[in-house]
């Protein structure tokens, strides 16, 4: 018998995986009882024995990576990100939610509040109001609460003064009544008067220390800072009640408090893939169309009274598995998810448009890399 190398396997295609392994590598299959092959094979040498290199090649990544925008509105965006590992897609999602900075109200100076809403609840409500101000134009404030360090580069001051006169109906106070004070705080620090007290106009007597008016700065001159939505109810005033306060907004991140999160949500899902394993015709086709609550299937007329089921809208498949629940259907329909195709949705809360938020998130991940590279060198 002639000697044959163990690696001489004419039936195993070198350089590419056999179809069943390729399917396991690239798809999650959603079976009747549970999803299988949910793991991602990351190791570079995972397929060495079949002659397949699973290592990361940037050129390969650049060739395969694609983005297509599905929907883009003022504060909502959906796009497909194809050819990327979930660990990186998830990093972007996590950064979007907790590490992209925005401006939010952090300090509230309440001069007078006779409403039923307690001061701390009122302050919390104010904090959650999204503010339409580009956070990239601001700096972080220092930890300590020093009025001298609150300047035009790190603080936005709003004023709220509302009063419901006696004998009038209840008055809702809405977010558009928050008035931007480009010159900084107007309240004076109350100090015991004495011979050594500072003069009235001195910066020590104020809660902020602005060196110029924010509306004279070019970036805000034609772009006044306002709450994103004018109709958020802050409180309701009964007859005779009054609110007078000042709110100081600073830059922060979602991981400190959700009020600084620039997105209401950012999420992704893997692309559903519905495959008909055999031709489904006539009554079965009708049955299949009726089974699906997400209306994934359509019927194609073949003529002569013949009908055939087709997969018309796989994207709307929710993988409810209703179509494979009954007996024998699992061998007709296969439900899968494409592991490297992400349908990513970003809902901005208003500080920045969603496409810029994503760019910022990618930049933050880059900065993280750079920081560690610098530490290693």
């Amino acid at each position: 018998m002639p000697k044959v190398s163990a690696l001489n396997m004419p039936d195993v295609p070198m350089g590419q995986l056999p179809p069943h392994l390729e399917l396991q590598r690239t798809r999650v299959s959603c079976d009747k009882d549970a999803p299988t092959h949910t793991e991602n094979v990351q190791s570079a040498g995972a397929y060495t024995s079949v002659g397949v290199d699973n290592s990361l090649c940037l050129d390969q990544f650049r060739k395969n990576f694609r983005v297509t925008v599905v929907r883009l509105t003022e504060d909502d965006m959906e796009f497909d990100m194809i050819g990327i590992d979930p660990s990186i897609a998830n990093a972007f999602r996590r950064i979007l939610i907790s590490e992209v900075p925005t401006m939010a109200i952090e300090k509230v100076l309440i001069k007078n509040s006779t409403t039923l809403v307690q001061d701390e609840v009122l302050a919390h409500r104010l904090g959650l109001i999204p503010i339409k101000a580009d956070p990239r134009l601001f700096e972080y404030t220092s930890e300590n609460d020093n009025p001298n360090e609150k300047n035009e580069k790190n603080t936005i001051v709003f004023k709220l003064h509302a009063k419901c006169k006696r004998g009038e109906p209840r008055l809702p106070v809405k977010s558009d009544q928050l008035k931007w004070l480009p010159g900084g705080s107007e309240f004076k620090v109350e100090k015991p008067s004495g011979p050594d007290s500072t003069p009235e106009t001195s910066p020590q007597n104020k809660y902020t220390n602005f060196s110029c008016n924010q509306d004279s700065m070019p970036q805000f001159a034609n772009n006044p800072i306002v709450p994103k939505h004018p109709d958020i109810i802050i409180s309701k005033l009964g007859p005779g009640q009054e609110i007078e306060l000042e709110a100081h907004a600073v830059k922060g991140m979602g991981k400190t408090h959700a009020k600084w999160s620039p997105v209401s949500t950012a999420w992704y899902r893997m692309l559903p893939e519905v495959v008909l394993l055999q031709d489904i015709e006539d009554e079965l086709a009708e049955e299949l169309v009726k089974k699906c609550p997400a209306k994934v299937f359509d019927i194609e007329d073949l003529g002569k009274g013949k009908k055939k089921a087709t997969v018309a809208r796989p994207r709307s498949c929710t993988l409810c598995r209703e179509c494979i629940r009954e007996e024998n259907w699992e061998k007709r329909v296969s439900l899968r998810r494409v592991k490297d195709h992400f349908i990513f949705t970003i809902e901005s809360s208003g500080a920045l448009p969603p496409e810029e938020l994503f760019t910022e998130a990618v930049k933050i991940l880059e900065e993280k890399c750079e920081r560690v590279i610098a530490e290693l060198s």
Partner: protein, 107 residues
């Protein structure tokens, strides 16, 4: 910060002020490097902003391999950013006409 440097092939790196966001992405790029025999990460305590990344290699300096992984990740990010900008620009130049219709049928 680096621990266990007696052997250049295997080290544990302690990154402060990082979490799953970077560590998991980094584990992916490390795993994709053929020189890496083993890599993994752990967060010793959820209250501490700290991750430990373990890298064991076939012979290369673990620190250099980690640095390469970081550079790969950064290069991927740069590519993602430029691809994204291109896709958004393209969408803004010719927005799909039936965007609204397909949306209704999908919901």
């Amino acid at each position: 910060m680096e621990h266990g440097t007696r052997d250049i092939k295997s080290s544990t790196f302690c990154l402060t002020d990082e979490d799953h966001t970077l560590a998991n992405a980094l584990r992916f790029t490390l795993n994709q490097d053929p020189r890496v025999v083993f890599c993994g990460y752990s967060i010793p305590h959820p209250s501490d902003a700290q991750v430990n990344i373990r890298v064991q290699t076939t012979g290369a300096h673990a620190g250099l391999v980690l640095k390469d992984a970081l550079q790969n990740l950064r290069a991927m990010c740069q590519h993602i950013r430029s691809t994204m900008d291109g896709a958004v620009k393209e969408y803004k130049e010719n927005p799909p006409v039936e965007a609204m219709e397909t949306e209704e049928t999908e919901e």
